[in-house]
Every structure is written in structure tokens, then in C-alpha cells.
Amino acid sequence: MSETKPEPARPQAAQAIEAVPVRHPWRWVSAAVVLVLAAMFVHMLVTNERFQWSFIFDNIFTPPILEGVWTTIRLTVLAMVLGIALGILLAVMRLSPNPLLSSAAWLYTWFFRAVPRVVLLAIFGNLGFLWGRLEFGLPFDRQIGQLFGITDFDGRFFGFETRDVIYGFLAGLLGLALSEAAYMAEIVRAGILSVDRGQTEAAAALGLTRGQTLWRIVMPQAMRPIIPPTGNETIAMLKDTALVAYVPVTNELWFQTQAIGARTFKLFPMFVGACLWYLALTSLLMIGQYFIERRFARGRDSTSRARVRLGAIGRGQGGA
């Protein structure tokens, strides 16, 4: 509170200085306002009977909800793992000197960032309309066969009915992961570009190949700026799993909380129940992010490490 500085002692200090601490009346007023508002909010939570807390807690631990939580966690983790892997590949492609690779990566990012996730998910839920069967093998096998006069040439060695495989969970996972890869590609690209060019040049001077330079020199240094936004993306992904109801995936947290709400005609309490679950899961992710950030801040000076605090995680871009 006090901002008085010690004055250099003067030889003839006749009267003692009457030091008055700087007053901060508005600090006290604003603190009081915040406290009153917080008290009002807590009071409302406790006294407003419409919340029906006992109903909420009776229902948010039922087997369908727990299964929904498990599906939500699986979707988040798998979509992020796939999204990060594909995103790194796309970022490397984008920075490649080969113009074909680089424009392919640009085109991918353009498409999957432009289409809303919920639209993507509805499309992935109905892919069977486009392709009744998905088959893998030699591309253009029929056309190549005809070129040599063989009408029934078949270069396909593996295939399945689209709707038997790509529906529900897998369709939702694909939609989320492919969309996430586009965002991760941009984050990884920014991370790679943030590493000083001298590092690459020095590695080249030592005779390292491009691949070695990327994995040994550039990526470890790029991780620090990549981690915080990736944590942000993970939290966003956890919330976006609620969109898979449009595929439809029905054993998922948001669908199940709504279903209980609609069945018992107590929608609002179940909305609150869904909030509680998402809050709990997001908090877990934030703790995980804190430790990962601390790990990748190793070797930086102590001041920069001190700035990586739990509080910075909330801002998403913090920590660096």
C-alpha cells in the first residue's frame, strides 16, 4: 500500500516528515462491490429452488451420464492426438520448399477452417450418401484396366460399406480431428517460424539434414510457443464434443444430460448439471496444462519460469 520512499537524510532535518500513506478509497469500494455481488450470486445459487440441486446430483452420476462423460473424454483425447499429428504434418508440408506440398497444405487448412464444425459433423454423419463403399487400392484401377483392354480389372484390396464404419462415434471423431488439424497446423507453423533462423543455419553448418534439424533443433524450441495455444485448443475441443449430437452420437455427455432433462421435464437443472461436468473436466485439463508448460519451460531463466503460473493458463496465450 505505502508508496513513500526513504528520503536521503538531510543534515538539518528540523521537523520530522509527516508521512501519510497514499489512500486508495476506490480500491476499497470496488472490493466491496465485488464481494457484495459474489455474496448475492452464492445466495441466489442456494436459495433459488428452481436449480433443484438434489435432482441435479441424483442424476449427473447415473450410468448414461457417466458413459457420456467417458465418450466425451475419449473423443477429446483421440481428436486432439489425431489433430496434433496431422497438424504437425500439415505445418511441415506448408513450410516445405515444394510448392505442390505447400499449396496442398494451404488448401486443406483453408477448407477445414472455413467450414463450421457442426456442419462438418452433419456431413460426416451422412458420408454414405456419397460413397456406398469405401475401397483402398490402386488409384484409377478401372481406367488403367480399360487402357489395357481389361474390363474387370480390380486393383482394390480392402474396402467396407461406408455406413457400417463411418457413423456415430467414428464419424464424429473424424469430423472433429480433421477440423482440429487445420487449427493445429497454423499453431505449429507459428511455433516453427518463431525459432530464430540462425538455429537452422547453424544446424546446416554442422551438417545436419533437414529432418534432423527439424526434430532435434527446431521443434524442441518451437514447443514453448506451441503448448499454451494447444492447451486452449484442447479445452475448446472438450466443449465442441457437444456438437457430435448432430452426427448423431447419442452416448455423449450433452446429449444424455438433455435427454434426461427432456424425459423428466426438468431441462434447466440438467443444463446446470452439464455445466458442472464441463467445468470439472476443463479444470482437470488446466492442471495438466500447467505441468506440461512447466516442463517445456525448462532451461529458461527463473523469471520466465515464474511467470508460467496457473493463472496464466486461463488467458491461453500466457506463459511465455
Binding site: 451422412n126 455406413r163 438433455q258 432433462g261 424425459r263 421435464f265
Partner: protein, 299 residues
């Protein structure tokens, strides 16, 4: 912003007022349905109108929650915002009998009954099948009879009574979800493959998923399946008979029994004067017409 000058405050207030006026104007223009006229509609019966409690009749309109994904009962017109369908037309006539207009508010199906309970909607009109669970929560006024029927791609060999192992589309929160869940359980109990139940956000998505071949069949209220088959240009066909016939009911809050009585009397008046029959016939669903309307019918 802590110390706004008087002039700024005045501008702020006038701006807010203008915004509110605009909002008000939007609300008026957005009456939806057919009409939106401020006059009490023609054909009002003053005796019936007197049955409506003041809290509902004071503003001259009923705010109605409707899930507009259920053609031909209730769906959106080509303008993407006007509710149409026989259910809509019939309730417009019911309200007109009571000297009221209707403000149709589209909402997800599962949100409508809770919305009526919380006072967000004065009435719920959305092909609600009357059942004990719903009557325990709200008042229901019967006005139609419908059953459940199945539809499948034309030429397929779907049998509703032997659907084990199939993929079946259904709209979430409807009575058909319980129906198909029970059928799937019966399959499992009999040692057969379960039914893969795909619950969609709207009936239109469920229907589309059968047309695209994503699912093997769907089940819904009988008029909905009949209409889907008719609209699908031969892609879909009805399979099996109509079963589980039950009345549709208008949804009114538990404490608004007087409004429920008024609605029921108005439906009865329309049945008696022939308007009811002509509206249903116009949409080809007269087969589901009922002779008497009742509040919370038990059978």
C-alpha cells in the same frame, strides 16, 4: 464510463429507448402464422372467449412453442420462418374461436413442455402424444388421433416386428424413442443382435438419413411417415401397420386448467361446426379426426 456526462447519458438513454422500440416493432411484425392482424379474428365466440383467464387473453395473443420439423403437422414455410401445417392451421382456428391470435415460436421438441412449465410459452402445440408421464407434468387437451408407423427405402424388406440388427432413425425425445429402445431390448433378450438406434435432433434429419441410405428405416407418427413417403418421390415406402394409436394433446401448464378447458371447448366447437373436418380433409389427415375433445383424457 464511471462518470458519464449528462449529455452522454441522455444519448445513451435515447439510444436504448430507440433500440427497445425497434425490438418492439420486430415483435409485432413477427407474429408468424397466417395473419398477424391486430383485429380479433372473425368467428370468435364471445362465450368461449370469456372462458380464457385474463392473464392469457390480455395481450390478445397466445405464445405457442412449436417444433417446426414435423411435416405435414408443423413445419416452416418456404420463407424459413412462418410455421405452417395442419396442426398449425387447426390451432390458429382454435385460438380464433377464443378471439385470440397466435405467436408461433419455433423450439426444439424436448424444450417445449419445460418451456410451458416455466411460462416461456403459454401453450405447446407440436403433435404431443398424450401419455401418463406428460399428463403428470402438464394439462393436455386432446384434438387428434395418431399412431406410430414405420417407413423404409422402397423395395427393402424391413419388418417392424423383426427389426433386430437394423439401423433405425428416430427423432430424439419423442415417444418413438421408448418404443424402439424396448424393441431393441427385446432383440437382446431373445439373443439376437440389438437395433442400432440413431437419434436425430429433428424429424427432418431422421427422414433424410433414411433417404440417403444412412439408416435402414425410421419410425414416427403416422401422418409424418405418410407425408414423408409421399414427398420422397418413391424413395421411401410405408412398412407395417399403424400401431399404438393415441391422442395428440395441446400442452398447457398444470396451474392453467381454465385455459385448458377453454381450448377443449373451442376444439369441440370447431368439431361441431365442421371447420375441424374441413381443415383435416384439406391436409388429407381426416382419418385421425376425433369426435370429442377432452382435458387429460384417461383412455
Amino acid at each position: 464510463m464511471l462518470h458519464p456526462s449528462p449529455r452522454r447519458a441522455a444519448r445513451l438513454v435515447s439510444g436504448l429507448a430507440a433500440a427497445l422500440l425497434l425490438l418492439g416493432a420486430c415483435g409485432d411484425g413477427d407474429n408468424g402464422g397466417d395473419g398477424g392482424n391486430d383485429q380479433p379474428p372473425a368467428g370468435a365466440d364471445s362465450e368461449l372467449a370469456a372462458m380464457v383467464p385474463d392473464e392469457f387473453s390480455a395481450d390478445g395473443k397466445l405464445v405457442v412453442g412449436v417444433d417446426t420439423t414435423y411435416p405435414p403437422n408443423e413445419y416452416l414455410d418456404t420463407d424459413g420462418k412462418t410455421a405452417v401445417g395442419w396442426d398449425v392451421e387447426l390451432f390458429d382456428a382454435v385460438a380464433a374461436k377464443l378471439g385470440l391470435t397466435v405467436e408461433w415460436v419455433p423450439a426444439p421438441f424436448g424444450n417445449i413442455i419445460p418451456g410451458v412449465q416455466s411460462g416461456e410459452y403459454e401453450v405447446g402445440v407440436s403433435s404431443f402424444t398424450i401419455n401418463a408421464e406428460r399428463m403428470a407434468e402438464v394439462n393436455m387437451v386432446s384434438y387428434f388421433n395418431a399412431g406410430t408407423q414405420w417407413a423404409a427405402p422402397a423395395g427393402s424388406s424391413v419388418d417392424p416386428d423383426n427389426a433386430c440388427g437394423l439401423r433405425v432413425a428416430v427423432q430424439r425425445d419423442t415417444v418413438q424413442v421408448e418404443d424402439i429402445t424396448a424393441r431393441s431390448q427385446a432383440c437382446v433378450d431373445a439373443g439376437k443382435e440389438e437395433i442400432t438406434i440413431q437419434q436425430y435432433q429433428s424429424q427432418e434429419q431422421a427422414t433424410a438419413s433414411v433417404v440417403t441410405g444412412q439408416n435402414d428405416a425410421m419410425l414416427a407418427d403416422s401422418p409424418i411417415c405418410a407425408y414423408a413417403v409421399q414427398q420422397s418421390d418413391g424413395a421411401l415406402e410405408l412398412v407395417g401397420e399403424i400401431y399404438d394409436a393415441a391422442p395428440y394433446g395441446y400442452v398447457v401448464a398444470k396451474d392453467a386448467t381454465e385455459l385448458a378447458e377453454a381450448l377443449s371447448a373451442a376444439v369441440q366447437a370447431l368439431i361441431d361446426d365442421g371447420t375441424y373436418e374441413s381443415i383435416l380433409s384439406e391436409w388429407g389427415v381426416q382419418g385421425g379426426g376425433i369426435p370429442t375433445s377432452a382435458v387429460n383424457p384417461t383412455s
